[in-house]
């Protein structure tokens, strides 16, 4: 794969606007999606791991759904819900004039949809591995659920949470089917790296490979950087 790349042509490609746009869009939307996943996923995972309530099995099954949907079907599901004529999308557009498809927000939404289960399941696993007695200790010291969660549960489960974040981010970055089905493909707006690579490949194999390589290098570099900073807890 590395050998197949058109090395002399690479610098020119790197300067090409579609590549820069797509790379930037991919990185920002994946990061945004990861943050949203964390915001939604952490409490959800905590609920699933620590609180014993009636609908727990059902909620867990629900969270798992996007995991087993083929990406394209995920896109269709998203459209049914958030499309312009969708169950939630239609009222939303009526009220605010805003609609998700064909926008950056749509890309983030698609990423969140496919990545959230990864985050939730990985984090739930981590929370279950951590000793719940510490939560109890925090409670006897007067910590509210939120304080205990923030200052004890999360730090103790941190390695697992970070793993979940990496998984979510990477899943978003590589995601293709749901994004293109829900948002289509427009350079600078909804054209992420995988989409760019896909369409480029239809015309020019080698160019697509070069693009893949760029994406690979950038994302692995970011992951390695993150790992060295945060993920290797002392």
């Amino acid at each position: 794969m590395v050998a197949a790349v058109d090395w002399p042509g690479l610098p020119a490609q790197l300067r090409s606007e579609p590549l820069r746009d797509a790379l930037w869009l991919s990185l920002t939307t994946s990061t945004a999606a990861m943050l949203v996943c964390l915001l939604l996923g952490l409490p959800l995972a905590w609920l699933l791991a620590r609180v014993d309530f009636a609908g727990r099995g059902a909620l867990r099954a629900l969270v798992t759904v996007p995991l087993v949907l083929p990406p394209v079907v995920a896109g269709v599901a998203l459209r049914t819900a958030f499309g312009r004529t969708g169950v939630l999308g239609a009222p939303l557009e009526e009220l605010t004039g805003f609609s998700f498809p064909f926008t950056v927000w749509g890309v983030v939404l698609a990423h969140v949809f496919v990545s959230l289960p990864f985050v939730v399941i990985a984090v739930e696993g981590a929370l279950r591995s951590a000793n719940p007695e510490y939560d109890a200790a925090a409670a006897t010291l007067g910590a509210s659920r939120w304080t205990g969660f923030r200052r004890v549960t999360v730090p103790l489960a941190l390695p697992g949470i970070l793993a979940g974040m990496v998984l979510g981010w990477a899943r978003s970055l590589g995601e293709f089917g749901a994004t293109i089905t829900f948002n289509g493909n427009y350079p600078g707006r909804t054209q992420t790296m995988p989409t760019l690579i896909y369409v480029t490949r239809q015309a020019d194999q080698d160019a697509a490979l070069a693009l893949s390589l760029v994406m690979l290098v950038v994302s692995v570099a970011i992951l390695v950087m993150l790992r060295d900073r945060w993920l290797v807890t002392p």
Binding site: R84, P101, F102, N183, G184, P187, V199, Q202
Partner: protein
């Protein structure tokens, strides 16, 4: 019927562009009726993908692509045993969702609406681009779709107000879409090619398949689905 090559396997494997799904399924039934004991195995995918797989030695007896460029990937790799033949064409049309909610009457109305077409790099995109340029259309689409099916779906689902798709897609969508006439649409067309593959396990059956597609019966099935004559 035509003679079956001795030593041929009893399965015919056809690699075909995804847009041929319906017609090839119909032709396969006919083929199996004509060749008792023979199974037709249809493997659909994107033209480029299939051509590349054929070049990589994917099992298959015939390859049908939706454009000449993909077919060239296979011929360049010496993966074909026979000269590719054109067996049909497909032209671009403008479709709107049933009821035409955005009131699109022609290409000029696309400005300001949410419309889609295929990306420049994919076969259907090249055709659409030609049509757009012919008509001097300057309005930008909301999305450049990965394949024509996705473009059609954006319209049938109501996400897009209009889309440029193949005539065959418009036909298969039935009542879900309405076709808006576009000047010069017939000229913006692509041709479908068919060739027997070099690594065919059943070269005789493969040739029979080519013959069936090119036959009068084949012609009828293709025309019914909206394909044009070669």
């Amino acid at each position: 019927s035509t003679g079956t090559g001795a030593g041929d396997a009893d399965t015919l494997t056809v690699l075909a562009a995804a847009s041929l799904t319906d017609v090839y399924a119909e032709l396969a039934t006919e083929f199996e009726a004509e060749h008792p004991g023979v199974d037709v195995e249809l493997s659909f995918g994107s033209s480029t993908e299939l051509a590349e797989q054929a070049a990589d030695g994917a099992p298959g007896d015939v390859l049908a692509t939706a454009d000449p460029i993909s077919m060239r990937v296979a011929t360049d790799a010496d993966a074909t045993a026979t000269e590719p033949v054109v067996f049909g064409t497909n032209s671009m049309v403008l479709v709107v969702p049933a009821g035409n909610p955005a009131g699109i009457a022609g290409l000029d109305d696309l400005a300001g609406s949410t419309w889609v077409r295929c990306a420049d790099e994919v076969p259907c995109g090249r055709v659409a681009l030609a049509l757009v340029e012919q008509n001097g259309l300057s309005s930008e689409p909301a999305s450049l779709e990965q394949d024509v099916r996705s473009a059609l779906e954006k319209v049938t689902s109501g996400e897009a107000d209009a889309g440029l798709v193949y005539a065959t897609d418009a036909a298969s969508a039935g009542d879900a879409v309405e076709v808006v006439p576009v000047p010069g649409a017939g000229r913006a067309a692509t041709s479908y090619l068919l060739a027997v593959l070099d690594g065919a396990q059943a070269p005789g059956l493969a040739q029979d398949w080519v013959d069936l597609v090119l036959s009068e019966a084949g012609r009828t099935v293709l025309t019914d689905a909206g394909f044009g004559a070669p």
